[in-house]
Symmetry: C2
Subunit: 147 residues, 2 copies
């Protein structure tokens, strides 16, 4: 029960982009460095974010990756779900038909409550606010930090 | 980011055992049926629970699995962690040294808060209370329910 590395890197990328002036285009290298993100992850991450409309990609000499206006207040929940799909703490929470024990299983409501509690925290944390925190731009100046 | 099947089955097994009269020994078959737990999981689940002291195992004709008095108020958190190890929503929460970005990464505190929110719900849900809910013993009378 742990966040995927790709989702973690996606959040780092998005917070970095939220800290840039509007209309700035960031290069792949800049994003990789800011997020301490290995190359093999960055493609997947940027693909997921682009597909979800959280990032736009521009080709050519003036190309790069840009945070659309609509994504400046993206929540960590929306970013994680763009990469991992909907958060479902247990299989029984996937759909009403996912587990026939739902109607009587005493644990079902607890899993649902635990998922809601976690998702609630991630939903209220938005990248525009996180990008304003003092350390948000430190990664770029201090180089790779991930062990 | 999803609970393992083994942890889900472990919780089902424990809730079933908490609904039995004290000193009752349940057979493997009874537990497999009550939890709709396939054989390949049950051994792992019972091994983890026994190792954590949440279940005691007795051999012989009158043998079986028993819930020790000390485990009657076990929380879902303790059961999940007995099977999966400590819940760590992100790698950066494993230890102070797990990620050097901890001191400045704006997301770190959010992951910690989300983990605490989820763990808090699982910590306050105890099997003695869940076993008293109306549907808790239904699995045994209605047969396998898991899709």
């Amino acid at each position: 029960m742990q966040l995927t590395r790709a989702a973690d890197y996606a959040v780092r990328v998005m917070i970095h982009m939220a800290g840039l002036p509007p209309d700035t285009r960031a290069s792949r290298n800049e994003l990789a460095e800011a997020a301490d993100c290995p190359d093999q992850f960055l493609s997947k991450v940027l693909q997921s974010l682009t597909r979800a409309g959280l990032v736009t990609s521009h080709r050519g000499n003036t190309g790069g990756f840009e945070l659309p206006l609509t994504a400046r207040r993206a929540s960590l929940l929306s970013i994680v779900e763009a990469v991992e799909g909907p958060i479902r703490l247990n299989v029984c929470l996937v759909s009403a038909a996912a587990c026939e024990r739902q109607t009587f299983c005493p644990a079902h409501a607890v899993w649902a409550e635990a998922q809601a509690a976690m998702a609630g925290v991630l939903r209220k944390a938005t990248i525009d606010v996180l990008a304003e925190q003092p350390g948000a731009t430190q990664a770029l100046t201090e180089g790779p930090k991930w062990n």
